[in-house]
Symmetry: C2
Subunit: 258 residues, 2 copies
């Protein structure tokens, strides 16, 4: 990341633009970068158009499938095929399929993600699971949360889509994310066996790189802990935008040539 203390704001933005232009692959977060409260962020359309096929979206979204995200972005005027969308929820399913083949899975997730789980061949169950997948679920009730706690207490591993504790709506109000549910789980079962799959886990970035070297990629995101730290640990240059004081610019618009 560029040090905003020793460089002027103009220098920093110019360097970021050059890095974006030179990159073989541009990774970008979705919530808070491209979209907020179901509306495009300033510069999102131009950013997506500019980077075209070099662009991959890397999001801790755990409620949608890639196909649904692509379609949703389409309704907002952004053209990003599903094959270029990498989502933490889907990745948690793939991780579970790869690491716990054939076992019974309790999935805390939206109907869309549970259907996707079945499409991937996962054997979903409500009782006595061998593994738990914890995604964000706006329909979660406390009975289901208790099932997760009971399973974790019995030593069942829990695959968590992402560690985000909240995501902001447009007014900045924190909306419950998977990490809030994880905090509840850890309060009840401190010794729970937890694997986090989404950003900042390296696996998430590795999948999105798809064979491109980390040094040939740039990640743009608004979250210091998940987007920036995660990418940099893998050697990917990170560009931090958003409301945070550490961000080099408030929005994607600032990364576009004027």
């Amino acid at each position: 990341m560029i040090d905003p203390v020793v460089a002027t704001r103009g220098d920093v933005l110019a360097t970021a633009r050059t890095q974006l232009d030179l990159a073989k692959l541009v990774l970008c977060d979705v919530d808070g970068c491209l979209v907020e409260s179901d509306a495009l962020c300033a510069g999102a359309a131009a950013f997506v158009a500019r980077h075209g096929e070099r662009l991959r979206l890397v999001t801790n979204n755990s409620t949608m499938t890639a196909a649904a995200l692509s379609a949703y972005l389409g309704t907002l005027g952004l053209d990003v095929p599903a094959a270029r969308c990498f989502l933490a929820g889907e990745m948690a399913l793939a991780y579970t399929r790869d690491h716990y083949p054939g076992l019974r899975v309790l999935a805390v997730a939206t109907l869309a993600i549970r259907r996707q789980a079945e499409a991937l061949g996962l054997h979903l169950t409500d009782a006595r699971p061998d593994v738990v997948v914890l995604c964000n679920d706006p329909m979660l009730d406390i009975e289901r949360l208790q099932q997760v706690i009971t399973a974790a207490h019995c030593g069942v591993p829990v695959i968590v889509a992402n560690p985000d504790r909240w995501r902001p709506d447009r007014a900045g109000t924190p909306l419950i994310e998977t990490g809030t549910l994880l905090a509840a789980l850890r309060a009840a079962v401190p010794r729970a066996t937890v694997t986090i799959v989404g950003k900042p886990s390296l696996e998430m970035f590795r999948r999105a790189l798809e064979g491109v070297s980390p040094t040939d990629a740039v990640m743009v995101g608004d979250n210091r802990e998940t987007d920036v730290a995660g990418a940099e640990r893998l050697g990917i240059t990170a560009i931090h935008i958003g409301r945070s004081r550490e961000a080099i610019a408030p929005q994607l618009l600032d990364l576009m040539e004027r």
Copy 2:
């Protein structure tokens, strides 16, 4: 508390029995001491009979009223009038009435506790509360939890019945308690304004003392953090029983004369 390292187990129990006999007031926890998984713990009936009117129950229960707890204990053969039962949930309501008179209250609580709130004159609301009361609620859904998070984010104070993260069922499985919900709240809103009312808060013990000096009272409980530490901070002698290694005996039966 008696030091179990320098005294033999027999000495320790004899001292505890003497302390109980000499006390003007015997305070006792409910879950894990008198009752577990809807059955009496060993020695509970004899303990309640022996201490009679000197006995007060001090529990972090936030789902029942004192009247309901008294009636429930009656079904198990324990005679403890409601006036001698002090519950964290009811206390959170009383605290709210005293400190936020006339304001609109969002109560996360069972129907019984919400009815009790109305009986106390609290003005319950679902939207735009001035204060939140957070009790345990087996019917809680994520939408209601989001309402709490949104309110706390907007600076609304949250009165939490107790900090217990779980309570065990008979098999030792952790069941969700108010503290699990508090952990979720704090994950989403780290700067939430939180007041905890139940044990180990001193207010809980002060109410149960009812004018008796702390040095004339003994507290029996199975939780080091809430029962023992809370009582001792107020100068009440605490007798720690239960499964913990620090406990002087597994159950109330061991505190009775043979």
